[in-house]
């Protein structure tokens, strides 16, 4: 669709010179980046494609005598904001990829049709209106103001000073707001060190440092079984309770008394549940788990 649209737009524009060349290189990349972001299955890919797109837009700014905005775009957008995006993406979990099956009936079709219509509505009349319209250009203004940055700064701190102040207040508020939003209110008393420790022990987490990636053995002790080849069920990098869909863990979970213990030593039981003590984990007294942990 886009080549078609661009082709439609081409005759009405008269590109020439370096700007035109750059534009015609940059513009398809921007559009492809945008499309890619929308279509990408993986969010991280999407983010990276967006970075590319934003970069192209920044180039467009530069092309149009707006160096300040262009660089701000690169620094703030492609730099800071997109990093923030990626940060949050990672925090949430990269692998929480969404299923691409549409759940809302007709949403995708309607969205496509409306999107196309909207694009058409924006592009065609615009093309009609702007055909052959001369651009005043901001080069003169920039020069008169002593360079683009100076000129913008003058405007910002004179005519738009109140807006500027308001926006800066907004930024501060946004920062505080973000803090408040992500801050978790403590509901109980602050746990003491002893409590923290006890909880950790009782939860049956690994007390010793976990071996680094690439190491199959997950403990030094000989009484621990090694992980299976491929480490698919290994404890590496995850809390034990989230793992182990195997029978041993299931057996452990079934009983509230033995829940913690089950995860402790026997969670990585794997395909041979009957042999390990994990099978008895459900019935095993608390003391047993503790003993092994200690």
């Amino acid at each position: 669709m886009d080549p078609h649209l661009l082709a439609a737009a081409a005759p009405i524009t008269s590109t020439s010179g370096g700007e035109a060349l750059t534009f015609w290189i940059i513009a398809p990349i921007a559009v492809l980046g945008a499309l890619g972001m929308v279509l990408a299955k993986n969010a991280v890919h999407g983010a990276l494609l967006l970075v590319a797109n934003l970069f192209c837009v920044a180039v467009c700014y530069l092309l149009q005598d707006a160096p300040f905005l262009g660089f701000v775009q690169i620094v703030v957008y492609t730099g800071a904001i997109m990093v923030l995006f990626l940060f949050v993406l990672m925090l949430i979990g990269v692998d929480s990829t969404e299923s691409l099956v549409e759940t809302l009936r007709g949403q995708r079709l309607a969205a496509t049709v409306l999107g196309l219509g909207f694009a058409g509505l924006l592009v065609f009349p615009l093309g009609k209106v702007i055909k052959g319209q001369p651009a005043a250009g901001v080069a003169d203004v920039n020069k008169a103001g002593g360079g683009n940055i100076h000129a913008i700064a003058r405007l910002l701190f004179t005519d738009y000073v109140f807006a500027f102040e308001a926006v800066s207040a907004l930024l501060v508020i946004a920062a505080v707001g973000a803090m408040i939003l992500t801050h978790r209110e403590r509901t109980g008393p602050k746990p003491s060190q002893r409590e923290t420790l006890r909880r950790r022990i009782e939860s049956g987490a690994v007390l010793t440092p976990v071996p680094g990636p690439g190491v199959y053995a997950r403990a030094d002790s000989a009484d621990q079984r090694p992980a299976l080849p491929g480490g698919s069920n290994g404890l590496v990098g995850g809390a034990p309770s989230e793992l182990g869909p195997g029978g041993g863990a299931a057996g452990g979970r079934g009983d509230d008394a033995g829940a913690g213990d089950a995860g402790d030593g026997k969670a990585p039981s794997g395909p041979v549940p009957a042999t390990g003590p994990g099978a008895a984990g459900g019935a095993a007294p608390v003391g047993a788990g503790k003993g092994s942990g200690l």
Partner: protein, 657 residues
């Protein structure tokens, strides 16, 4: 307009002198009993001990003021006896100016004397009669309130003041009928009285509106001047007269609004005497006499008045023969006697004074009869059934004698008062001339005969014959004479019933006195000679009397009335008030009930249903519409995009054509 000028210039112009001297005290007449009522009602239980004294003194004081005013009036020149007192401006709205004003003239002053005089006597009587009633203070308060209202009715110098008094006596009557309000019958009777009075009041109110709409005033002098001057159109004045008549019928228990009066006997007996015999129920007669200039102008209305009077005479007489309840018989006798008064005042200038005379005489003898019956009821432990009386004359001699005098007066036995007044009315009815005169005269004559019959029946059943009660047994009776506070008024009233007729009628005293108000009464052409008529009347009355003696003295009276099946259809009908109540129920109450039920349904289902239905429809629609709010952000975004496209598209269409 010219009619106004003409009316003022003609001889019919009515003029009232401004009040001065004793007349400027006339407001006291009303204020005294009103103050008594206020003190007793607001004072509460604190005034229980001496409440009856306060009430009686207020009534007596008012009577004294009335006497003073009366004698001052007598002292004035004959043509200058109408004195109007302006108190304050009551309802002043541009063209509608109503003042609180009083009019003391020949007509109102006789009423004042009747009301305060009989009123005071009945106050005194009530001291004894109500001695054991815990609500005696309230009783006196209401009686005082009644006196004040009734005096306002007769003293007002405009129709609106009269109307105010008119409704207030209705209220007092209501309060007193339901005095023993724990008795459902009393409460029902009171409500019935008020409702039926209100029907009449509507007529009076509309009449007043007609007066204002036509004349721009409701003052007596203006209305009567215009009426007498012939300035009011014939249709209008007939309408006014008929509407006034409707009011009068309601208040006076005349056909077709007579049904409430017998029920009103549920009230204490002094009330029956004062309000439902002597004063309030005769207000209708006062109204017609007062409005004489209006009625004089319209023959049609007068005809209706005499017809109503005649019909009511017969209704009252017939039903009076059938009842065994002593008070009900007296009540129907009142109905029929007022019928006589209506008949009289309906006869025009010839009859006004006679109507008033009969009214005054009736005030005395009927009040006396009621008080006597009260004395009997009191003695017989609240038994009202005459069939359980008999031979009481031995036990209560004073009551027997006073009651007997009243009885002789009502049946028209010469020389007692009823003889003079009733005889004159019958004579005037015949004098009306033509067929109608004969019909009216014969009805009146017949009424006199039946009156003699049922009053004799009552008298004999109560005081003579064998005692149908016993000193022993479960319902033993110990009849005894009443205390002096009760017998005293009875004696005074008996004297009045003996003397009043002669005093008023012989020599035309009252006629001359009232002439300036109700018009001169020229000598009529007699159809039958007065002497013949008097004899005829006496014969008819004697016939009735003889019939009653034959039936109730010479033959034993059953202690229990015969069942309906054993008596004639006429008696059955009479026992059922000639089906007046049945008719009212069938024609108004039952359809009314259905109408109300229908409207309650209509309001709930149709009107509220319409509103609720609209609400439910909108609610249902919004419930459907609500489903579009799926909670999915993307759906909302989609619709936003759609909306944006629409708006942008529309803008482009408009801008770019």
């Amino acid at each position: 307009m010219t009619p106004a000028v003409a009316a003022g210039a003609e001889g019919g112009a009515v003029h009232y002198a401004a009040a001065s001297g004793a007349f400027s005290l006339s407001w006291l007449l009303i204020a005294l009993p009103l103050a008594g009522a206020a003190v007793l009602l607001l004072g509460g239980k604190r005034t229980d001990k001496f409440g009856h004294v306060v009430g009686t003194v207020a009534a007596l004081a008012s009577f004294v003021v009335g006497l003073v005013i009366f004698f001052t009036l007598v002292g004035r020149d004959g043509s200058d006896r109408a004195v109007s007192q302006h108190l304050f401006s009551w309802i002043p709205v541009n063209g509608f100016q109503v003042d609180a004003g009083l009019l003391v003239d020949q007509l109102s002053v006789v009423f004042v004397l009747l009301i305060t005089g009989v009123g005071t006597l009945i106050h005194i009587y009530s001291i004894g009669y109500m001695a054991h009633d815990p609500g005696r203070r309230k009783f006196f308060a209401y009686m005082n309130l009644f006196l004040a209202s009734m005096l306002l009715l007769v003293l007002g110098n405009n129709f609106l003041a009269l109307y105010a008094g008119w409704e207030l006596v209705g209220l007092s009557s209501f309060l007193l009928i339901k005095f023993w309000e724990y008795k459902p019958a009393a409460a029902t009777a009171a409500n019935k009285a008020f409702y039926m009075n209100r029907v009449g009041d509507v007529g009076l109110a509309i009449a007043i509106m007609f007066m204002f709409g036509t004349l721009g005033s409701t003052n007596y002098d203006h209305v009567f001047t215009a009426a007498a001057g012939g300035a009011i159109g014939h249709g209008t004045i007939t309408a006014i007269a008929l509407l006034l008549l409707l009011g009068a019928c309601g208040k006076s228990g005349q056909f077709p609004l007579q049904a409430w009066l017998p029920d009103a006997m549920e009230g204490p007996t002094p009330i029956s005497a004062l309000i439902h015999a002597a004063t309030m129920v005769t207000a209708g007669v006062y109204l017609i006499a007062r409005s004489a200039p209006v009625f004089n102008e319209t023959q049609a209305a007068r005809t209706v008045v005499v017809i109503i009077g005649a019909v009511t005479i017969l209704i009252g007489c017939v039903i009076g023969c059938a009842y065994d309840d002593i008070k009900k018989v007296l009540a129907y006798s009142t109905v029929s006697q007022i019928g006589y008064m209506f008949l009289a005042v309906g006869l025009g200038p010839a009859g006004y004074a006679l109507g008033i005379a009969h009214l005054l005489a009736h005030g005395f003898f009927k009040a006396g009869l009621f008080l006597g019956s009260g004395s009997v009821i009191h003695a017989m432990d609240d038994e009202q059934d005459m069939r359980r009386y008999g031979g009481l004359w031995k036990y209560m001699k004073v009551t027997w004698v006073t009651f007997g005098l009243g009885y002789l007066a009502i049946i028209g036995c010469p020389p007692f008062s009823g003889f003079f007044t009733k005889d004159k009315i019958i004579e005037t009815a015949f004098d009306k001339g033509g067929t109608s005169g004969y019909i009216l005269g014969i009805v009146a004559l017949l009424g006199a005969g039946i009156t003699a019959f049922y009053m004799t029946r009552l008298f004999l059943m109560t005081f003579h014959g064998k005692a149908r009660w016993s000193h022993e047994g479960a319902d033993a009776k110990h009849p005894h004479e009443s205390p002096t506070t009760m017998t005293g008024p009875m004696i005074l009233l008996a004297i009045g019933s003996v003397a009043a007729g002669a005093l008023f009628v012989v020599g035309g005293t009252l006629q001359d006195w009232l002439a300036p108000v109700v018009g001169e009464h020229g000598e009529a052409d007699h159809v039958l000679s007065p002497t013949v008529l008097t004899l005829l009347t006496l014969v008819v009355s004697a016939g009735g009397l003889a019939g009653a003696v034959l039936r109730y003295q010479l033959r034993p009276v059953d202690a229990v009335a015969k069942p309906d099946a054993a008596v004639s259809p006429l008696t059955v009908a009479a026992r059922h008030d000639l089906y007046a109540n049945t008719f009212n129920e069938a024609a108004f109450m039952i359809p009314g009930n259905y109408l109300v039920r229908f409207l309650v349904w209509f309001d709930k289902i149709i009107i509220d249903g319409l509103v609720g239905g609209t609400a439910a429809t909108i609610g249902g629609l919004s419930g459907r519409l609500r489903r579009t709010q799926t909670g999915y952000v993307r759906t909302y975004a989609l619709s936003m995009l759609g909306g944006t496209i629409l708006v942008v598209g529309a803008l482009l269409l408009v801008r770019a054509g």
